[in-house]
Symmetry: D2
Subunit: 271 residues, 4 copies
């Protein structure tokens, strides 16, 4: 280590090093664990896991009806079977002689912009529509206009249509739950309105799970990137369950297809 003179004086160094890792998320001292200002001993037995998730991401505890909506969003995304790369990757990794956490990590690593990002993108779509509404444009017009602007680039609308489910079985329960929460004054209903407006504008393509969870996350005040973060968290449950099932099966070095079928070799075509 060198003795260059422009370094901060040592009195300030301790502060500088401590500040390098400054956080508002938690305070950890000997004998003290506080999450967002709440001593852990007051949370244990009083807060559900969902409450703790909300607390850690939002900074304060939720009302019970808010937590119920978050529950419905999370439960809806827990699993989509071994066809999902996040699940298949975790199962294959689990047969290679690594810890359960490593298998889960590889599953989580696969939930990128394409596999895990549609909820975030859909929440951005709703926000775009609602920003126009805030400027005084009527909802239906703001929706048509926003869709048109997006579809000028690509037909794809995040949160709508599904390559597998003709109608996603999670759409109706999600919409019903949000509607009831609106009726009871739990949430405002602006994101529900935006989601339904998009669905009406592009009928008969229905909303999918990304579209309905984006409504919930929007109503609950989560920023768009956390729509992805919360999807990742929910799917971690399915990844864990599948990796654990695979480990119990005891197979070693599981490839993607049975060993009797060998990948096609495609020699490069000569120019």
């Amino acid at each position: 280590m060198s003795g260059d003179s422009e370094r901060p004086d040592d009195a300030g160094l301790r502060q500088e090093v401590a500040d390098w890792w400054a956080t508002s998320v938690s305070r950890i001292e000997p004998g003290v664990i506080e999450l967002r200002g709440h001593p852990i001993q007051e949370l244990l037995g009083a807060a559900s896991f969902t409450d703790a998730i909300w607390l850690m991401l939002h900074g304060e505890l939720p009302a019970p009806r808010q937590a119920e909506l978050l529950d419905a969003a999370l439960v809806g995304c827990v699993d989509h079977g071994p066809h999902a790369p996040s699940i298949a990757v975790a199962r294959m990794t689990a047969t290679c002689g690594v810890g359960l956490n490593n298998a889960v990590a590889s599953g989580v690593n696969a939930m990128g912009d394409v596999h895990g990002g549609a909820g975030q993108q859909c929440l951005e779509l709703y926000a775009e529509i609602l920003a126009r509404v805030d400027e005084g444009v009527a909802l239906a017009a703001a929706t048509r206009e926003t869709i048109a602007r997006r579809q000028a680039h690509s037909k794809y609308l995040p949160g709508f249509g599904h390559r597998f489910h003709p109608r996603d079985p999670r759409r109706d329960p999600h919409v019903a739950l949000v509607r009831r929460a609106v009726d009871d004054g739990v949430v405002e209903g602006r994101f529900l309105a935006a989601g339904l407006a998009v669905e009406a504008a592009i009928a008969p393509v229905p909303m999918n799970i990304d579209g309905s969870t984006a409504i919930i996350y929007g109503e609950l005040g989560f920023p768009a990137p956390l729509a992805r973060g919360l999807f990742v968290l929910a799917r971690t449950v399915g990844i864990l369950a599948h990796a654990w099932e695979e480990m119990q099966g005891g197979r070693r070095i599981k490839g993607p297809i049975p060993p009797g079928v060998r990948p096609t070799y495609r020699p490069p075509t000569p120019f």
Copy 2:
């Protein structure tokens, strides 16, 4: 692809490929999502996230008091600040231009045998003691004997003592919650007894979070490897909150210490 004759006939191939990915965790068909036999539309609005975690790992839904105990175990492990490698790794990765999911994955990847495995190891310790009790040995004797056998190899007992907290603030609430559940007939109390017996045998070293969550997971019937799996799941919340905070800060390529302090270079000592 070759035409070797020992391959299964094609009628069986579809089944073979489907079976290669067989699972009891979920059933996914067009329009159908079932988790452990429960249609998703019956779970949404009815099951909490904690219920879904239990369902996916246990195979059936929990009773409310069981879910409460699981909540307490999960909430207790959500975060331990930036000194934990799982948290620091995620925060640093979050500044490198990757998705939020990738930052979370690297945090999860760090929760190996040493950083995430003590709960699993402690549950195995309790199970070892209880196996002797099942053979007719008195609890105190079974405990002393098991500890002695383990400490012949290493002084370290997973789940007891903490390098940071003189007394872990989560111990008392966890023990109290399990005790109440025992009093109310929710759980049997065998793992609680084992944990307290260890603590008594090695006094004054207190139980830590791994010791108290191992009691809960044991009482709730989770196999030992899932003590690690559930710890990973819980900590994913803290990892997500910290990675998100770091991303919002906007720092780029964050090293472990301020740039003004340079790692010591230790030239190899000549032979």
Copy 3:
């Protein structure tokens, strides 16, 4: 599994499954391993590791002088010490009770757009300039114009300037090696010209390692995304060396700063 009628007949199924994993990279049959059409037994003892890297990414074997340039690019990126998140993350992970491969994986995972992407971005910058040259614009004008267009958005130019090194010690050797290769007719020199033109246009800010490796990768015909891929591969060596050193040290659960310094807690400011 269902018996829907639109599925392909089983005669075609084997082909469909095999094609799902079709590749031109390698052919693996019992007793046969071919890399890009080359039987492995002909490569062993004849091809260097660098030759194999080139073969796998380019599709054919390099000339010796081409391989030498690739060597110089790779060697230059092997390590940048524990301040680099890729290195620090791997070292911390290595203390958590995971395999050496898992520690390496987390280091690799950190080399995202910001930490590992500048070489790719710089190669795109050079290509942009050269595309204008191909349209008949003089190099100096094409360079000024491209820089101006980019700096309208952000001052940052990938591949130039360094927050740590006043002058990157790898710039001069890299430039000299490419120049010699141009003189000897090994490569054309267009990317070298583009790199030097940028450097001249923004003097006195010198080219950094991303700028000089982008020249080499461009001269050697690698597409821009592989500039990132090759950086990742090179740095994997340093990650491995550091993770291994850390594991030998035997420290457990290494945090980012010494345990005696605790991260600053910043309570949220009230609104």
Copy 4:
């Protein structure tokens, strides 16, 4: 941050923080990059990538004939096609909207004890035999005895036999290269003798790639864990080539089998 009195004085703090990240691998100062004491500018153009790998792991530069053996070991492990989980995982992840580095990282993460550890385990087997030889036991007897002791627990011998190749096409070239190196005095030949002794003892089961690379790594003086580390490094090349090929194909969210085949759902058997 607290003001507890037992903290080191700030004069020592800078050293403590710098030492927390102390390393003998490299020295990085403004304008200075040294790998194991070698200034980077002296390595560029003079050292091959293989030389740099050796330098980083061994601490000094190799002789050319040593580098050639290392080349042969590395080239032999570069790829084993999409049936290998390391490759399949990377390809699937590459379709999910993440960076090339993230796809590579997940592939590397799968090379655990079972998928990537046999070379390390085989080198330990050879070392065990050679330790007995050092005690004066004849090689054939030491080999029989060591195999018998191991096979008392499990029939499996790391480095011998292959579930796919009747005879690994890499065995003969590797053995021939080491033999020539022994003849020329480049290496001693003890590990070659041990490997051939095992092969003779369990004939007709032939040595596989893990057995032949373990010979090379043993002869070259690498410790056993680095047999795994070097396998990981070599396979990273194949992972990168496959991930890149997959990304160029443009498929999105690639599952492990074609979408038309759905994983078998196995309802849990009632008790």
